[in-house]
Symmetry: C2
Subunit: 196 residues, 2 copies
DNA sequence: GTATGATTTGGGCGACGGCCCAAGTCGTAC
DNA sequence: GTACGACTTGGGCCGTCGCCCAAATCATAC
């Protein structure tokens, strides 16, 4: 089989990916600063020394793993949004997504950990800011294309911030009614209430 | 003077307070997990052993310091809000406050650090959630009293979440125009645009 | 077979972490 | 004076950390 005849380089890339995956699952569990060399190695099923063979430092590993995750997440969110023709449908779909990211789920926690770590890691900060700026401009383009009446970039920024804020608040109060927030959000974007 | 004739107990409480203050300044600088026994002792100007005399653990110190800070902050915010009679004035004032909490300032960072730490510290989580719930209900009462047309609790939750989200996003993109966000927020709360 | 090069192993080094504790300071009570 | 109690000191114990490295592994090249 192909897997048994893999070259060294191929096996190496696979190991590197396993380390990235392990980091993504560990940060939400133990926190950015709680991820240690031995912990990721154990989670990835490799010896501790492998970590510093593939990455210059634990921090380097966390930055690479985090950025790969957020990049994929934001891209897929923007893709899905672009697929909805109307602002109302898009907002509804976003709120549906929000009920999946409840604030205490691994994805939400990872993102917030990255926000915080970025305040002390200039390189992470710049690259994460770039990803978010790109996302915001894609949302603004979608709003404008869907006929939003007003300043699309500002509305996109407010919308993205509001959604992240809801995720944050839900992490403390899981009982927050996400569906009910559709009302104020729709009003903010100038869409009439849904008939149903 | 009173300060020179302080009893042991009084000096002890003063020392304890200095440790709490030191913790509040250190968490934003080095992160929740980066605050060490020796670091906080040095910042407070005391010997390392004092920390574990006044607090059972470093985590205990951080929890006490953080909750004291957020409690005071939320109380004063709610007090100020209650002093504004109209929703429009209140929102404007909140956005003015927001320009003080830029996302990279110590207060914002401390709050986000607490959000994250609370996911792994049930006691902190419960008490922080209680503080925020109290704040939300005070905001809802203010909205209702100011004549808000709609579900005040939901609007208050959405407003609080949106503001926190803006703080979060500003930490990555300091160029975000807070003033411009007044438009969407006023629309969300059903207030006409300001004439000026 | 031997040589090569990338990858992996597991232990080790020095530094630093939380928490403890015997000894010391200092104002008050007697 | 002595005894007491609250507070403070600074060093020490023991565990874990990040990072390193000599040796082992293994598919491929010759």
């Amino acid at each position: 089989m192909a897997s048994t005849s893999a070259t060294s380089a191929e096996r190496g890339r696979a190991t590197r990916q396993r380390l990235l995956d392990a980091a993504v699952t560990l940060v939400p569990e133990v926190g950015w600063g709680g991820v240690t060399t031995r912990l990721v190695a154990e989670r990835a099923g490799v010896a501790p020394g492998v970590v510093h063979y593939h990455f210059a430092s634990v921090t380097d590993l966390l930055v690479a793993a985090g950025l790969a995750f957020t990049g994929g997440l934001l891209d897929s969110l923007a893709d899905e949004l672009r697929a909805r023709p109307g602002i109302g449908e898009g907002v509804d779909w976003l709120l549906g997504e929000l009920s999946r990211y409840g604030g205490t789920d691994p994805a939400s926690l990872l993102v917030v950990e990255m926000f915080l770590a970025s305040t002390r890691l200039p390189e992470l900060r710049e690259r994460l800011a770039g990803q978010i700026a790109a996302f915001r401009s894609r949302v603004a383009a979608w709003l404008a294309e869907a006929g939003y009446q007003g300043d699309a970039p500002t509305a996109a920024a407010m919308l993205a911030a509001a959604l992240d804020g809801v995720v944050l608040h839900r992490s403390l109060d899981p009982g927050l009614d996400v569906a009910a927030m559709a009302g104020p959000l729709r009003t903010m974007l100038g869409i009439p209430e849904e008939p149903s």
